[in-house]
């Protein structure tokens, strides 16, 4: 049986040798899968391959049984995979409202856009409250929340979040984690990358540990968290 999202033997890089060296990964529908691993392990690179920003040189990427290899970012978006990247990605001089509205850039049905906009405002009140302010005027945590809101404008079947808690203070970080968990509880499939392995795996249903372009271990979130070897290798330092 094919998984929801399945990567097999994926190799990819940026021109100077492969960063991903034959990576196998699967994400089940309805799961919250969390990838952890040291800096430079290639976590963001995996996500870039899935979103079509980077073409794999070998291997297969399948989503709901259909190959994504060689498809444009736009086509992949059209299949319901939306990514919030690691870097801040709001358009800083545009207003919060414009930013969120652009999340539905590929949707041409105005009434659907309005409906989604209303739904997103209900989930994230900040979108309506700060609608006229330029995105750059929000704090880091607020910007992350607005990025989530923008991503939800497409009502994605797979939402990819690359280190959403990066650079946030502890309080905002737990707000972001709660939001992530709530989105999963509401039935959405999430693929999360997290530096802070303990918090990430803590809310995940599935855990994946990556090292130098390969998956070292994967399994239920709690199991990965409890694995003594992995705990000693990766979690001690980052917790």
């Amino acid at each position: 049986m094919g998984a929801f999202l399945e990567l097999v033997g994926v190799r990819a890089g940026y021109g100077g040798g492969d960063i991903l060296q034959g990576l196998d990964l699967s994400v089940e529908e309805g799961s919250l899968t969390c990838i952890v691993g040291p800096n430079g392990a290639g976590k963001s690179t995996v996500l870039r391959v899935v979103s079509g920003l980077l073409r794999p040189t070998a291997g297969t990427v399948q989503f709901r049984g259909e190959s994504l290899a060689g498809r444009s970012p736009r086509a992949i978006l059209g299949r319901g995979i939306v990514q919030v990247p690691q870097e801040r990605s709001l358009f800083p001089t545009m207003t919060v409202w414009e930013n969120v509205r652009l999340g539905a850039f590929t949707v041409h049905d105005r009434s659907l856009v309005a409906k989604r906009m209303a739904a997103v405002c209900e989930t994230f009140p900040i979108v309506a409250e700060r609608r006229h302010e330029p995105a750059a005027s929000l704090s880091g945590g607020q910007q992350k929340i607005v990025e989530f809101a923008r991503a939800l404008m497409l009502d994605p079947s797979l939402l990819i979040l690359d280190e959403p808690s990066m650079g946030l203070d502890p309080k905002t970080r737990s707000l972001v984690f709660n939001t992530v968990r709530d989105m999963n509880k509401a039935g959405r499939t999430l693929l999360l990358v997290e530096q802070n392995a303990r918090s990430g795996l803590g809310i995940a249903t599935h855990g994946v540990v990556m090292e130098t372009g390969r998956v070292r271990l994967q399994g239920p979130g709690q199991e990965v968290l409890d694995n003594p070897e992995i705990g000693r290798l990766y979690l001690g330092a980052t917790a």
Binding site: G15, P73, R74, E87, L90, F91, P92, M94, F105, R150
Partner: protein, 291 residues
């Protein structure tokens, strides 16, 4: 005093033309992160196309824009797809070489078809003038200014009032984020290059009526346009407009107050002064780290 006022007015009017030409250049930079060193040659190409069209069809040079702007727009899309799009790595550095080669290619072709002799576009308004207060202004400067203002207005409307414009701005602000919301940045880039060339065509007409030019005229032009967008802040349309006005007004005023020899000097003092305080230019943002 009248002289200074006259110089200021003339500076604003010619500044409008430079503002338009520099806007195209800064738009191209903003969307693609490339320095189009060939932009001056594209302006000269526009001037020659209008020259040929007005000669052969016996029409007013400004009227030729109905032909040259669409032609240059399409040519711009083709040039972007053929020469710029293939540059995947080291785009900033390579693009300078590629667009410089483009400039030399255009210069060569124009030399072949039109010779290296100086020409100028002719119209009834190129020397005719009207009085305003105690001095006279040549019509062409007013017409050129009005044209450039109108084109800039259209550009701003498209950028700020249409969905396609929003996708151009989004690409300028964050290319990866734009891709992640489904914007086809390759298509946006091609169109932006087309728009840049269409504005070069419009700038070329005014340039060609007010200045005698030959295929080599682009060297001087590009160095002026580059200093304008550096002063204004790379990628900022507002900056390009303000900086163009500062350049032309300061040059014209210096020329009458001190001497034409010093005209550039004062502008460069302003440029260096601004860059010391704001290295990113008047309206520039520090170029963000790329993916």
């Amino acid at each position: 005093m009248t002289l200074v006022l006259e110089a200021a007015v003339l500076g604003v009017l010619t500044g409008g033309v430079y503002a338009l030409m520099a806007s195209g250049l800064t738009l191209i930079f903003g969307v693609m992160r490339i320095i189009n060193v060939g932009h001056g040659a594209l302006v000269v190409l526009g001037a020659y196309l209008s020259f040929a069209a007005s000669r052969s069809l016996h029409i007013d040079p400004f009227l030729t824009l109905v032909i040259t702007m669409p032609v240059m727009f399409l040519l711009g899309m083709v040039l972007q797809i053929v020469f710029i799009r293939p540059l995947k790595t080291d785009r900033e550095a390579l693009s300078v070489l590629v667009t410089y080669a483009l400039a030399l290619g255009i210069e060569g072709l124009l030399g072949y078809f039109f010779t290296a002799n100086y020409t100028q576009l002719q119209a009834w308004y190129d020397t005719a003038s009207f009085p305003i207060g105690s001095f006279r202004i040549t019509y062409v400067y007013v017409f050129g200014f009005a044209l450039c203002l109108a084109i800039l207005a259209v550009m701003f409307l498209v950028l700020y009032r249409t969905t396609f414009g929003a996708s151009i701005r989004a690409t300028m602000l964050n290319r990866t984020a734009a891709q992640l919301i489904g914007i086809d940045v390759d298509r946006v880039s091609a169109v932006a290059f087309g728009i840049g060339m269409a504005t070069a065509a419009a700038g070329g007409v005014v340039f060609g009526i007010t200045t005698a030019f030959n295929p080599g005229s682009h060297y001087d032009l590009i160095s002026r346009l580059l200093t304008i967008i550096v002063l204004g802040g790379l990628g900022s349309l507002r900056g390009a407009i303000v900086a163009a006005l500062i350049m032309l007004v300061s040059e014209d005023i210096t020329a009458v107050l001190i001497s034409p020899v010093w005209a550039n000097f004062v502008f460069f003092v302003i440029l260096v002064g601004v860059l010391l305080i704001r290295p990113q230019g008047l309206y520039g943002v520090r170029v963000r780290d790329r993916l």
